[in-house]
Chain length 203, copies 2
DNA sequence: TAAAATAGTATACCGTAGTATCTTAAAATG
DNA sequence: CATTTTAAGATACTACGGTATACTATTTTA
């Protein structure tokens, strides 16, 4: 504590913040591909090993910077009484991600992260406390309560489907708009979710 | 190293084959991550620029080698009279890929390819006549002929779904077995495809 | 057959991710 | 306050993907 003023050498959180801030600025200036670790180090007046001591690879540093300085996603779980509306609202909360970053940033980040982690972890990591699958699960629980589906039949593959579709949109298309969301919900998600009907519904 | 007496300089297909063969051996020995272009060049007694003149990046060379020396995929389009059986057969044809390669090879290849091309192109890739989406389309056409769905309602997003699910399995799981295929077909693909019903079916 | 175009050879080079090493400031411990 | 421990600084290094260049063998063409 008595050091803060005169200290020439930053440590811990101070240093970490400086690096994350530099990383955030840089990724916004040059995008993901041209983002280099050396440049971040230079801008933060830090040494490269400092970066690698905290983030094991480029994509992790960028992900951290986005989590800290990127758009905050509304984490509220919609409960409108309609599965369709709930899903649309949930997806719409994610639109801000597309609005903030171009495809290039998301795309590059995605392929690099894919190198080290499985798909279902990608979304959780990027938004830390905002686990998409948990939110999906909550929405489906409400639907189950209304007797529209049987949540016991919802497998992990099905739970992951929204995330996968989201990632696919990132990779494949420039943007995700309201119309795309409705298309995904109506043509894919609802048929899949509601296809897992309660046994009583079957005959 | 100057040529010993009668060493002719290889060109065209001869040279290409030597490189592909070396690449195939190498990727099987060391996997994708430790596969280096320099080592391929060395083994094929070729110069690096020769590789890059034909394949623009590492992932392309590896993909080419797999297409040439890897398992031949049955490209026949099933037509059993049942959409479910057709889809299961189609997916089962792809099992051989998982059997032949470990996840590491597919995983690394996938993330590198993702860097330069969109998801829906990954499977079609240089494999010329083996386009998954075309086969899906044919199977769906048969189903349409039987009046089970309306093919006009099948959007590109829906057509790409099988490929996306396949890629997801590559990334996320060790293997894809019969049970997985049935799960994907019954719980996801059939609900989605059959959800796009003909207007006449609506009661 | 001679010239021109094509494409392989050899090698040096660049940029970046990521690591190793050695020194030194600052914090923790006692 | 002295000692020990932690972690930053500085810098050099390795490995690899991919490119550039200069040279030369082979094929094409006229």
């Amino acid at each position: 504590m008595p050091n803060t003023k005169n200290s020439t050498r930053r440590r811990g959180k101070k240093l970490e913040d400086a690096v994350l801030s530099a990383a955030w600025n840089l990724v916004n200036e040059v995008g993901y591909k041209d983002f280099t670790m050396s440049e971040v180090a230079k801008r933060a007046n830090a040494a490269k090993p400092v970066l690698y001591r905290r983030w094991s690879e480029k994509s992790e540093l960028v992900a951290s910077a986005i989590i800290k300085y990127g758009p905050k996603i509304d984490v509220s779980i919609p409960d409108t009484g309609s599965l369709r509306e709930d899903l649309i609202k949930l997806f719409s909360q994610l639109l801000v991600i597309f609005d903030t970053f171009g495809t290039e940033k998301l795309h590059g980040l995605l392929s690099d992260r894919l190198k080290s982690i499985p798909v279902d972890k990608i979304l959780n990591a990027t938004s830390s406390e905002n686990k998409l699958t948990e939110m999906i699960m909550a929405v489906l629980k409400h639907s189950d309560d209304r007797g529209e589906l049987d949540i016991k039949n919802i497998t992990s593959r099905i739970i992951n489907l929204p995330g996968i579709l989201l990632i696919n949109e990132v990779v494949e298309h420039e943007a995700m708009d309201k119309k795309t969301i409705e298309d995904i919900v109506d043509r894919i998600l609802l048929p899949v979710f509601l296809g897992q009907k309660k046994a009583a519904d079957n005959n």
